[in-house]
Amino acid sequence: MSEVTPRETQTGSAFAHASEAEFSRILDFYQVTWEYEPQVFPILWDLDGNVLESFAPDFFLPDLDLFVELTTLQQRLVRKKNRKVRRLRELYPNLRIKLFYARDFRALMLKYGRSALVSELSGTLGQVGPRQNQESVSDDTAGTGHAGAARPLDLSTAPAGATLDAGAHDRRSRGARRRAVRRAAAAYAPNSTAP
């Protein structure tokens, strides 16, 4: 695995979008353990096995074995995100992921009496921020933890090869990459014991 730079945690700047920071505070409030973008899943490869596209869900809730992807994009603009999540579910059917749309987030804020925050945290541009390429395979920084404990990329919840970081990917031989890709697809396959 390549050396990764742990992200800051529990600060607004640690997240790609303010809605993610707000969501993390809600999880903290209800004492739900979370990890921020702990895994990057390859979802598209070329014929040589090179990863062309990957997807890093925003949150993993280990106690609930659930990934959560937030989007504050307007509903009509979420097609690309929907496609990625659909692809993720096809490739890793044992993986549980919840896509939290802008309307879900808005309802959550409304429920908690924080509707004034909705316009502040939502936008047509969606998740733009310090990391413009967060959904690309070149996003090689990941891994923060709950309660401010920054730590490197955690692959412990999936078998080796289930997730790839860009650095590891670049150094592998073509055969090794193919094997890794097969393992990645198998990691969350129906009969896998992986979460």
């Binding site: 409030f29 809730l61 879900d104 409304l110 429920k111 924080r114 509707s115």
Partner: protein
């Protein structure tokens, strides 16, 4: 927020009428009475939203039972401060160890509060603990928790009435209705 003097005017649609709720509560009471026959039950209601449901449900359960009340803080519920942890604002007034407990909730949406409460109550070593919710909004679920008794599965809309509030208002409506967006967007 601004609400009308006549609260009915802020309701876009009656989702569940008073009659529908009454029939369902009777049905739930019968099921619970049958399931717990020969046992003593402790109903734990979560303030404030589940009060009307608790009051109606307990009178439809034909068993010896105790009631207790709990209240937990809600995220952002008491101030604009968004940090901190959920707190028990009102704890049980009697021990529940060894007892059969039925947690009575008005609505389950994300499941975050319920998840916290169940963990807390299980720590008090009851003989059993089950959940009864009048309303289930599965579209919003984050924490998958089995709900043993569900009154109605409802669509993804902001609902008020029969205990459910927006800004502490609308709890006294006798039905469950969908709040007009103007009521919370103003």
């Amino acid at each position: 927020m601004k609400h009308s003097q006549d609260l009915n005017e802020d309701v876009a649609e009656v989702l569940l009428s008073e009659d529908q709720i009454r029939v369902k509560v009777i049905e739930l009471g019968k099921r619970i009475s049958a399931d717990y026959a020969g046992r003593e039950l402790t109903l734990v209601s979560v303030l404030k939203g589940s009060l009307p449901f608790m009051a109606d449900l307990m009178r439809q359960i034909e068993l010896p039972l105790r009631i207790d009340l709990m209240e937990v803080s809600s995220y952002g519920g008491t101030s604009t401060e968004s940090s901190g942890l959920v707190r028990i604002l009102k704890d049980l007034s009697a021990p529940i160890d060894g007892r059969d407990v039925l947690l009575v909730e008005d609505i389950i949406d994300t499941g975050l509060t319920l998840n916290y409460l169940l963990r807390y109550l299980k720590g008090k070593k009851p003989n059993s603990i089950k959940v009864c919710a009048l309303l289930d909004k599965p579209a919003r679920r984050l924490v998958e928790i089995p709900i043993d008794y569900v009154g109605f599965e409802i669509p993804d809309a902001f609902v008020v009435g029969y205990g459910l509030d927006f800004g502490e208002v609308y709890r006294n409506l006798r039905f469950v209705g969908v709040l007009r967006p103007e009521a919370y967007e103003s």
